[in-house]
Amino acid sequence: MKAFQFSWANGVTLALAMAAGVADEPVDLKQVLKQIQELRAEQQRLQQTIAAQQQTIETLQKQVAAAEEKQKLAAEAAAVATSPQTPQSPSLHPPPTSSFRIGGGRAYMDISTDVLVAGGWSSEPGIKHAHEHEHETHRYGDGTLPRGHHDPQGSGFTLQGLELAFQGAVDPYVRGDVFVSMNVDNHGETTVELEEAYLTTLQMPWNLQLKGGQFYTEFGRLGTSMPHPHTWDFVDQPVIWSRMFGPDGLRNPGARVSWLAPTPFYLELFGAVQNSKGESAYSFMNTEEDEFAGRTLTDRDYERAEDLLYSTRLQSSFDLTREHTISVGASAAFGPNPTGEHARTSIHGADFYWKWRPTQHDHGWPFVKWTTEALWRDYDLAPQVRGHHHEGAEPEIEILPGESLRDWGFYNEVAWGFKRPWVAAFRVDYASGYDNSDPLLNQRWRFSPNLTYYFSEFSKLRLQYNADMAKHLDDQIAHGLWVQFEFLLGSHGAHKF
């Protein structure tokens, strides 16, 4: 069509040229022919350009179509692809608190650092700076809710823990595990604690295993399988755990032996002896504070065998099917307390854990975990005679009779990994009241729903709400909303089941 148009145009040009020649001078045929040739060459050039442009248009059209197809595919794929964008970091997801160990094997030990940061808001004041409380009886005089050292310490940000872990085989006979933890509270105070440093034997006879050093007591599910804060399914530790084992859990230097029973199912018996002093033996010989339950606390030396802390645990587990496993345990800890010379404390615990995970799970998802744990405490409050001196008056003598402080509590939590990489969890906390005016001993309920997104097994983001109903609160209820982030660098040892 275009070619025809050009021929027609040529014809017109030729006719015009001829007409011009007729009018003026004789037609110079040679010139006309030359002009025709030039015009033909021009025409060819134009045709080539047009063909090239057509090709470009077609290529562009193809590209547009391909891009559109990709876009369409991507839009459709968004419905099936789980990841909003291809992350730069890996997200090989084992389920939270499931076992994993990545890397390693190329060095003599696995070295890792795990950082846990929380930020948020609480309707109650947070923990006061420890130094502001030198003259007060209770370290936690104002901030009465966050009891755990690794809990968010109040509105604002808390570096809940920077855990350095060094783990590996020492030689063919023992392995070593060291955990150092650092915190920065919301007042900027940094604390460093040696969480654990212990040896474990690998080839003792008679199914025995020894552990020695500084370690968390194998008490309850939390103490045995997940003592480190980054393995928890919640931002904070259970209320009853704080109440009986204080801000940092039950841990001290000592030794423990465990025996794996030769039964067809899993049955393990633990027995440990550890130092009974300090804040990490909270309900025992702990004189970090001056008073507990109205009694003056006095430190004593280790003089007799019973001045140490003794604990035992029996733990068992059964596979109901390939997909359902339950674990049960019973624990007990005994030791002296600082209210009087013969005052003693005993704590008993019972725990139950059930986990469902289909055999064909995708990086651990889906799963359901149900944990419930109850603890009972018998704390002898030794009789005390206390004198109160008032200026210009006779000294007042107060006689406190011997009493037995009995309290108990539980936590009950369910974590549901409903869709990779999401986990929804809910926890109910309860602690019975011994003295409702004392924030350390009052009745307290707490309800904590949360939602966690695992970018990978090395990082996660968690949102948690706490409804806290403690008897000492003015409003009887406090609210807390927390965001928590964790990241882990390096090779970290596998976590227990």
Partner: protein, 301 residues
């Protein structure tokens, strides 16, 4: 009473070590368990922990496994960090010197295998890369011979009185494997050069054995789920390259695999990656018979 109790405890403690005349073998994967059964014959009792329909990277370190390891004379692991998320914890807790690293009863099947895809650097932004290379070598049936020889060596060291029988069993296994390999190679010959896409890098050794070309994986990086744009690009590539087959494991996010198959025109075949993942693949030979049959049928139809 006290004496009875003592006797009972002694009996309980001592009996497991002496009760069994057979070698008590625990293998992490059913594939390894199957080979161990061929090599060990009647002289071994073998338990496999992870069947082919499960993801061996992510087994739970269940206490019941710890009990099995406590009683084991021989532990056969895949190696290459495949079981690193759960096995070391179990071995440490098992208090069984017979299966500690370096003991004759500890078998690492990866030993002696020529590894593929060994990373030049370790960087987790590259996904879950195994430092020692791709650990899914049991999917090359020819590797079965190397694995069987390694297992035979361990059995002979642990029960030297049965060594002659183990070696005879090994010979029979090798012969049967040679015959099978000839048959399998013939079956797969028409598919040589076939372009495939897999979900994870599970089939690298398999593809090399049978001359298949893995054009891409549905995961952009090992363990990393695909984004919509990654998937769209892959589908376009699959179309231009003429990919006919997608292989995926049953525990993957199959919606993604189905989508890719539907849009690219390739056929999706969901297969367990090892022995015991279904009734058809109950041992080493029947698994590969079944797997190759499935692939040939799917591509041919």
């Amino acid at each position: 009473m006290k004496r009875m109790l003592t006797l009972l405890i002694v009996a309980l403690v001592v009996s497991p070590a002496h009760a069994a005349s057979k070698l008590n073998v625990v293998a992490t994967l059913e594939d390894l368990a199957s080979i161990a059964r061929f090599v060990g014959g009647d002289d071994v009792a073998v338990t496999g922990l992870c069947h082919g329909g499960q993801d061996a990277h992510f087994l739970d370190a269940k206490p019941s496994y710890l009990v099995k390891l406590n009683r084991a004379d021989v532990l056969i692991e895949n190696g290459g960090d495949l079981e690193t998320g759960w096995l070391p914890l179990l071995v440490d807790g098992a208090r069984n010197r017979r299966i500690l690293r370096g003991a004759p009863g500890r078998v690492v099947a990866f030993d002696g295998i020529e590894p593929l895809e060994v990373p030049s650097k370790l960087d987790r932004s590259e996904g879950d890369v195994h430092p020692q290379g791709n650990p899914h070598f049991t999917l090359d049936p020819a590797n079965g011979k190397i694995i069987a020889a390694t297992i035979c060596g361990a059995f002979c060291a642990c029960a030297p009185q049965n060594a002659a029988r183990f070696r005879a069993n090994l010979g029979a296994f090798e012969k049967r494997l040679d015959e099978s390999l000839t048959r399998w190679t013939a079956m797969m010959a028409p598919l040589r050069g076939l372009k495939i896409v897999t979900f994870h890098r599970n089939f690298s050794y398999f593809a090399r054995r049978f001359g298949l070309e893995v054009v891409g994986t549905l995961e952009p990086k090992p363990g990393v789920p695909p984004s919509p744009s990654y998937l769209a690009n892959l589908i376009v590539t699959m179309k231009t390259e003429g990919v006919k087959l997608i292989l995926a494991e049953p525990y993957r996010d199959l919606k993604v695999a189905q989508f890719a198959a539907e849009k690219s025109g390739a056929k999706l075949l969901v297969v367990p990656t090892g022995v015991g993942g279904n009734a058809d693949g109950s041992d080493f030979f029947s698994y590969f018979d079944w797997l190759l049959g499935q692939i040939v049928r799917t591509v041919g139809s």
